[in-house]
């Protein structure tokens, strides 16, 4: 028997690989398979290649890495698999192997390092926001579209309309509940979320308070490590996880609430991520057990705040890291249905990723753009007045391809209903 091509640090396990029976039920829900129709860019094909690498029959460098890199990590295959294959675990074990053992071309290395030097840092993101606002004022995007290489062009096209006031605003550390307290929770405010979607965080605080939750939002929190975890940067992810646990475990709260699908899924993974670290394993498991997506928490609470009518046809887009990775599909819908007048519609091909997928739309701009356009077509097909989704990555991606439909996070719509204003109007009294 030849030796495995993986190194000895947490390679994808033989047992998990054996779970795949090669039935192919995952093919239709895989975004890259939908785009290219090539076996090695399907979950079944990728698992097959992992299997061969584990047997030492193929090397990691070359085609193997190319197809692992091409995976969005959307986990639609996990949902569609009848055999219970844990592709999420397999991918999470494989990506760090690639990062450690396969040298990347210099430009690729720089680009990836650049992303990780910027996104997880709120201060750097704010600095970038200043630059961005200036950049937009000077109408540079039109010029950039002509001269930048594809990856940088994609990254700049994703930049939202920057509002400096909200990028620099800070959240109140403690928000008191309306009426008798039902729960005490801590809010993860996120990095991209807090700088570019600050209003989602304030809406989350208001809605939770209106529903009787005391909300603590620690200032010292940093990046949760989700982007790194999903990109195979294990050391980064583990360090961030430990910091996040240390920040939150001190707080006397019932739950830790997240309003970013990607972050929520990684917070729930901490127990697994740190399982082999005796100092952290127990703490991580205890932490993960407390994590709830904001819609998950709201669905648990019997509504108490009065909802005002919003007569609108609202399309709900399942963020992959909420639907596929966390299995949260019904909760956001049931929360939105508590708003009188909302006509909630599903999208065709709802299980297909929009192409955002963490850093994917920056490192793989072409397939990401094709998927974005496809999702935009499916949204237009149901002609909604509003599109609602619970992930800033999806919002940034979809805005690029769909500038004619207003988009909100579910808590923003609920917030508007509770405040009794039109959803596209600015919220009252920050």
């Amino acid at each position: 028997m030849t030796d495995s091509s993986f190194d000895a640090t947490n390679p994808p396990s033989r047992e998990l690989l054996n779970d795949c029976v090669h039935c192919g039920f995952c093919l239709p829900t895989c975004p890259t398979y939908q785009l290219w129709g090539e076996e090695m860019d399907s979950p079944r094909g990728r698992i097959y290649l992992m299997d061969l690498a584990e047997r030492g029959e193929i090397e990691l460098e070359g085609a193997f890495t190319e197809h692992i890199d091409a995976c969005l990590g959307c986990m639609a295959c996990v949902t569609s698999c009848p055999s219970g294959v844990q592709y999420d675990r397999l991918l999470e074990a494989t990506r760090p192997q690639v990062e450690r053992n396969v040298p990347r071309a210099r430009s690729d290395r720089w680009f990836r390092s650049g992303i990780f030097a910027l996104f997880p840092y709120r201060r750097r993101l704010r600095a970038a926001a200043v630059g961005g606002a200036l950049y937009q004022k000077l109408r540079l995007p039109a010029l950039a579209a002509r001269i930048l290489p594809p990856r940088l062009r994609a990254a700049q096209a994703l930049m939202p309309q920057v509002r400096l006031r909200s990028a620099f605003a800070s959240l109140p550390r403690r928000v008191r509940p309306a009426g008798a307290p039902r729960k005490r929770v801590a809010l993860l405010s996120g990095c991209v979320q807090d700088v570019f979607f600050h209003e989602v965080n304030t809406a989350t605080q208001r809605v939770l308070a209106a529903e009787g939750c005391e909300v603590l939002t620690p200032r010292a929190q940093g990046c949760c490590g989700a982007l790194g975890l999903h990109a195979g940067r294990e050391t980064h992810a583990r360090e961030r996880a430990k910091q996040t646990i240390a920040t939150f475990e001190k707080l006397p709260v019932d739950n830790i609430v997240v309003n970013v699908a990607g972050c929520g899924s990684s917070l729930k993974e901490y127990g697994h991520l740190l399982a082999d670290d005796p100092q952290w394993s127990e703490r991580a498991t205890a932490f993960s057990a407390k994590v709830r997506d904001v819609t998950e928490l709201l669905a648990e609470l019997e509504p108490q705040a009065e909802r005002h009518r919003i007569d609108a046809k609202v399309a709900y887009h399942d963020a992959c890291h909420l639907g596929h990775a966390q299995g949260i599909r019904e909760q956001p819908r049931s929360v939105l249905r508590t708003i009188p007048g909302v006509d909630l519609v599903d999208l065709p091909d709802a299980e297909l990723c929009c192409g955002s997928a963490g850093i994917y739309n920056m490192v793989n701009p072409e397939p990401a753009a094709e998927l974005g356009e496809r999702k935009a077509r499916n949204v237009r097909a149901v002609a909604p007045e509003l599109l609602v989704t619970a992930n800033p990555g999806c919002l940034l991606q979809l805005r690029r391809f769909l500038d004619d439909v207003p988009m909100l996070h579910p808590v923003q719509l609920l917030d508007a209903s509770i405040q009794g204003r039109r959803p596209t109007e600015a919220p009252m009294a920050e």
Binding site: M1, T2, N18, D19, V21, H22, C23, G24, F25, L27, P28, Y33, W36, G37, E38, E39, M40, G45, Y48, L49, L52, E57, I58, E59, G62, A63, F64, H67, S80, C81, P82, S83, G84
Partner: protein
């Protein structure tokens, strides 16, 4: 290896961006849904149009290169396993629904369109495509044509061949012909019918025109538990004897129920020895009357729980459990073989008890999921390869298929013969039958280039027992490698 001129001709036929030649990438095409049989192809081409397919086939024909058409690669008999030094023609970039004609109730499809997508596209017009193999969410219409696929509802509605009106076929020499026509009844020999179910040995079906049916006014689905598989089998016989033609009658035994329930949570009873899913469809009044009869027959045979699906969602769940059952068996056993055979309905009880005995003798568990209405069995032989049970399992699986023939049935109901059962064909057919089939095949493909080695036994194939891939000792020693 392909020689250079053949390689260049194929690249020219479909364009370099539609060719896969990297040795690592080619490995992912070495098997279909039946992973025991593997062969790395020399090249994979992914045409976009019928003309591309014809160009690729012409190149193969000119250079004497064998080729195998491949749809979604879900087949369970190794029908899309590549041939040594051959080319795989993958139809996964031909996924366009060319036309839906709601007035004449027809759809024109490229071969890579999935079975379920036909129904999804037709649903807006109140129409659907009837054959529904359990893998319908992924299997393609091209593959359905090759295998003449059935599914749970073929008891009432028939197989693929009953629903394909016409198709454009690329013959093994690259000629494009149209077989069949817009009306069901055609003059002359039914060549369309000859090609359907020929397992990709007579050509490649490209533009396929299928019949669409009106979505039934009413659908009633019930789930009934029984104290034994025999009791459930008797219900099936009585249903048919009473003149009822259900849309589907499916049976699962306890092991299959456990697996499916684990995968889907469909609401099956975990402890029941057997369960039937009976579905009736049609006008409401007809459904009502027949439904009462079905209930009475179930009660007569000691039905322990009868559950009627209240909502469309619940009905979908019951079916999802049934349709996911094969793959779900992966949850209760490390490895398994899906078998496919047919017995006359009257032999159901007999075949089940004999299978049980054979399993006991072999020391292996056998789960049973099947289309009970037409006697199409899918015994699943469970084993653990790491415990050295593979050979015993393969033997038992073959014995079960051959038992079906012995009881007056068939080697395959719908999964095809492929690579897997070619060598069992002489059990079912005599010399004369087989040589006639071979002559039909030679009339289409005199050079034996189109999916060779499948369906019909050949001395080379059957002289030595085919088995799972085992590395050559030199391969293990790292002296040679498989490309």
């Amino acid at each position: 290896m392909l020689d250079r001129t053949a390689h260049e001709a194929l690249v020219a036929a479909v364009g370099p961006e539609n060719v896969i030649s990297d040795p690592v990438q080619l490995r992912s095409y070495e098997c279909d849904g039946l992973t025991g049989f593997r062969q790395v192809p020399s090249l994979v081409v992914l045409p976009h149009t019928t003309e591309d397919v014809a160009q690729a086939v012409r190149a193969c024909h000119r250079h004497g290169v064998p080729f195998v058409a491949r749809g979604a690669g879900t087949g369970l008999s190794g029908g899309a396993m590549p041939v040594a030094d051959g080319v795989v023609i993958s139809l996964q970039r031909m996924r366009e629904i060319v036309d839906i004609d709601p007035v004449d109730r027809r759809a024109v499809l490229q071969p890579g369109v999935t079975n379920l997508d036909i129904t999804k596209a037709a649903a807006a017009h109140g129409l659907y495509y009837a054959p529904d193999p359990s893998s319908q969410q992924v299997c393609t219409i091209g593959g359905n044509v090759a295998e003449n696929s059935g599914g749970a509802h073929c008891l009432k509605y028939g197989f693929t061949t009953n629903h394909v009106l016409s198709m454009t076929v690329v013959l093994p020499d690259g000629e494009i012909v149209t077989l069949g026509g817009d009306t069901g009844e055609q003059l002359g020999p039914d060549l369309r019918g000859v090609v359907i179910g020929s397992e990709g040995t007579l050509g490649i079906a490209c533009d396929i025109t299928v019949r669409l049916l009106r979505t039934p006014e009413t659908v009633r689905t019930l789930l009934a538990d029984f104290p034994s598989v025999t009791a459930a089998g008797d219900v099936v016989s009585d249903l048919i004897a009473a003149g009822i033609v259900p849309a589907a009658v499916e049976m699962m035994d306890n092991l299959a129920i456990q697996a499916a329930e684990k995968a889907v949570g469909a609401g099956y009873t975990l402890t029941t020895p057997a369960a039937l899913v009976v579905e009736l469809d049609g006008p409401e009044s007809e459904c009502e009357t027949q439904f009462d009869e079905v209930r009475a027959i179930c009660d007569r045979h000691g039905c322990t729980r009868l559950h009627i699906a209240e909502t469309a969602a619940e009905r979908a769940r019951i079916w999802k459990g049934r349709k996911a059952a094969f793959a779900a068996v992966g949850r209760i056993s490390p490895d398994y073989i899906v078998q496919d055979g047919v017995v006359p309905r009257t032999q159901l009880a007999e075949v089940l008890s004999r299978i049980e005995g054979m399993g006991r003798n072999a020391g292996l568990r056998v789960a049973n999921v099947f289309h009970a209405g037409d006697g199409n069995l899918h015994p699943l032989v469970l084993f653990d390869e790491d415990a050295g049970e593979l050979e015993r399992a393969e033997e038992l699986s073959t014995d079960i298929a051959e038992l079906c023939v012995e009881l007056g049935g068939s080697l395959s109901g719908e999964h095809g013969i492929g690579t897997d059962k070619a060598c069992s064909m002489p059990r079912m057919f005599g010399e004369a039958d087989l040589s006639t089939m071979d002559r039909v095949r030679a009339a289409f493909d005199p050079r034996h280039l189109c999916n060779p080695g499948k369906l019909l036994p050949t001395p080379r194939l059957c002289g030595e027992q085919p088995g799972r891939y085992r590395p050559h000792p030199l391969e293990e020693a790292g002296v040679i490698e498989r490309l």
